[in-house]
Symmetry: C2
Subunit: 123 residues, 2 copies
């Protein structure tokens, strides 16, 4: 099952912290911070969904993500690509470079990465 928007946000914090107690998580939020119970509810739901686990330390818990950000994102992206670009990553790529205003440096960096990729592919 997928994460909802707010759950995803919480995930971001967990990915950043790697592992965190309730108070660490709360710290990550900007004013107006959500109620502790709200976070607790989200954490429980995320645990149920299989995205989060925790280690019990005395009375409280240290939460940590069960999925790597990269993996989660990969799926996400694949869904997007499938939906919007007939499952064609290259079509997406082309759209992407046109629509996102990358600076010259960024574009050159990107080209470098691509060249590297081509090289790797042929190895």
């Amino acid at each position: 099952m997928k994460l909802s928007k707010t759950e995803e946000q919480l995930m971001q914090h967990l990915w950043k912290l790697e592992k965190a107690f309730m108070k660490d998580i709360l710290e990550q939020y900007n004013e107006p911070k959500p109620a502790t119970t709200t976070i607790a509810t989200l954490l429980k739901r995320m645990t149920d969904k299989g995205y989060v686990s925790y280690a019990t330390f005395g009375k409280s818990r240290e939460y940590y993500p069960l999925i790597k950000k990269e993996d989660y994102f990969s799926n996400h992206l694949n869904g997007l690509i499938k939906n919007f670009f007939n499952d064609s990553a290259s079509q997406f790529a082309s759209f992407f470079t046109k629509e996102t205003n990358l600076s010259d440096t960024e574009l050159k960096d990107l080209r470098k990465i691509i060249d590297q990729q081509i090289k790797d592919n042929n190895k």
Copy 2:
């Protein structure tokens, strides 16, 4: 207000058809097709949200999207990038080229696009 998942799917069909009557829309769905009323509900919600409009033709309506797929997608993508890559498109690009398995040809095409972009930027 954003579109939900199913609404987004319906949008895809509208984008593809450009304009469509109820029956054209239903045709787009695979078995098991949703009930007509389900589509009707979605269309109404989407109309309320400002994504869809229609022309009345006698008894029924020809629906059409009010937003271009590209624009809608652009926002979408920007959200993603913001969330997952600290608002850095280039960071995203790099992730993208690494994670998506583009073929050699696709990569070369992409490089071509990038070169073109660089050229355009400096014009």
